[in-house]
Point group: C2
Chain length 261, copies 2
Amino acid sequence: MDALSDDAGGKRARGLDRAFEILDFLRQKRQALKPNEIAAQIGAPRSSVYELVNLLLRNGILEFTGGEGRVYLGRKLYFLGAAYENHFDFTRECEAVLERLADETRETAQFCMLDGNKYTVVRMREGARPFRISTDVGQSVPIPWTASGRLLVAHMSNEDILTFIPPQDFCLPSGEWLDPQAFLAEVRQAERDGLFTFNSIVDSFTHCFAVPVTDEEGHVAATLCLVAPRDDGLANRERYLDCLKDAARGLSHAPARPKRS
Amino acid sequence: MDALSDDAGGKRARGLDRAFEILDFLRQKRQALKPNEIAAQIGAPRSSVYELVNLLLRNGILEFTGGEGRVYLGRKLYFLGAAYENHFDFTRECEAVLERLADETRETAQFCMLDGNKYTVVRMREGARPFRISTDVGQSVPIPWTASGRLLVAHMSNEDILTFIPPQDFCLPSGEWLDPQAFLAEVRQAERDGLFTFNSIVDSFTHCFAVPVTDEEGHVAATLCLVAPRDDGLANRERYLDCLKDAARGLSHAPARPKRS
DNA sequence: CGCTAAAGTCCAATATACCGTACATATGAT
DNA sequence: ATCATATGTACGGTATATTGGACTTTAGCG
């Protein structure tokens, strides 16, 4: 059976995969790069990268910007993303819900989803206290680092979870390793409770609350989170959770109740 | 010069191009489609489309949705688009400008750009009179149909313009044909004036005003437009144009500055 | 000036991606 | 039952996309 993951062995890569690898890399870097730099940093043949970059430029998927031949994500991606957003029209409700959450709690409220096998903050509303949030909107973060992560993988089997999450993602920013079995236990606990809260492991001063947002099939499609100073979070725990659950109820698509036809 | 359009002869198409053709097609259709339908409607080999669709699904570029094996644009495209939007941070200013425009004029205000060789409304603010606007946000429209179109191609030579715009796009929705030479004359006039206005040719009751928004290199990167009832537009012509120019000045100065992470 | 490294272009070899075609399955009409 | 249409899968041939490497060009630097 082949290693279906990615660049294993010295096999030829498919253009499409390479192309999206380039796009993801640019997104992660969040800046324009020269084709040469891209090739070097993702470990792809330079000639291939040059050819692909030119193809993507002609399609408007990439654009020249930043001078010196640097390229970054292009306008066409914006249009495609806008079409997605328009189709799965979560944004409008989402903004309203986040605003209400932030107003009610004065804390930072986030709407989070999986991006492949990473966690990402899709939309965020800063709270009243402007303290430094460790993760920016759009950044990819290892799933085990986050409270939401426990909920976002809860629909999978333990085995699937461990093959889904890259092993190195269990290495916390502090350098310590999180025991995968402990993580799985937390996932199951979160699934039962319909929520997960903990003292953040990416910083030392916040407490995180996460509740699931389900799609029409009942799967966890996203999460709503609050990030609060620790003592504040502990003091208001029940109220914050109530606010979150209310908000999530508003966003979750009602699971199809069997009604008589 | 290569035939930059698409499937000309009976040559093999490149996977990447086919892939983005699929994505664009889905965007245009604005609904989930079965791979089979996609293949039939874009005139591509079914086996190729199935293979590409599966690849794109694996990458999160497409998603199953709508049941029956239908696919539509995927979450990853949303993330990539959001990264673009974040990098070229025009959205925030844009919304404010459109809001002010709509307030000042009570008409519908639009922010428009090129999407490949088509015109598209990127953001829109409805005016006080809610009359039916013919083009929705995100729809691709032939360049010659629009006032903005005159400005958006003004940086190109006449020759380039005629190879850039598909010939059939000079066929107006009424069925009449617009003389390309007449169009070019209007382009040059618009370039000189720094504006273009006309009675819409996609409907019979609106007057359109367009002014350019330039990037830091001075190229026309976008346009701001007003769509007004005809008599209303004629009556307020000078005032509306002043409002538009003011607004465009506000956007043109700081359009595309990459912001710090 | 050479010398080095980075950045981009060109080209042929070959692994393989694209595509035609056949096959499988379901549904519906006749 | 037979035919027709829509949908998805499987497979092999060949056109070609990917790739390593050679080759330019540009830039920095002692």
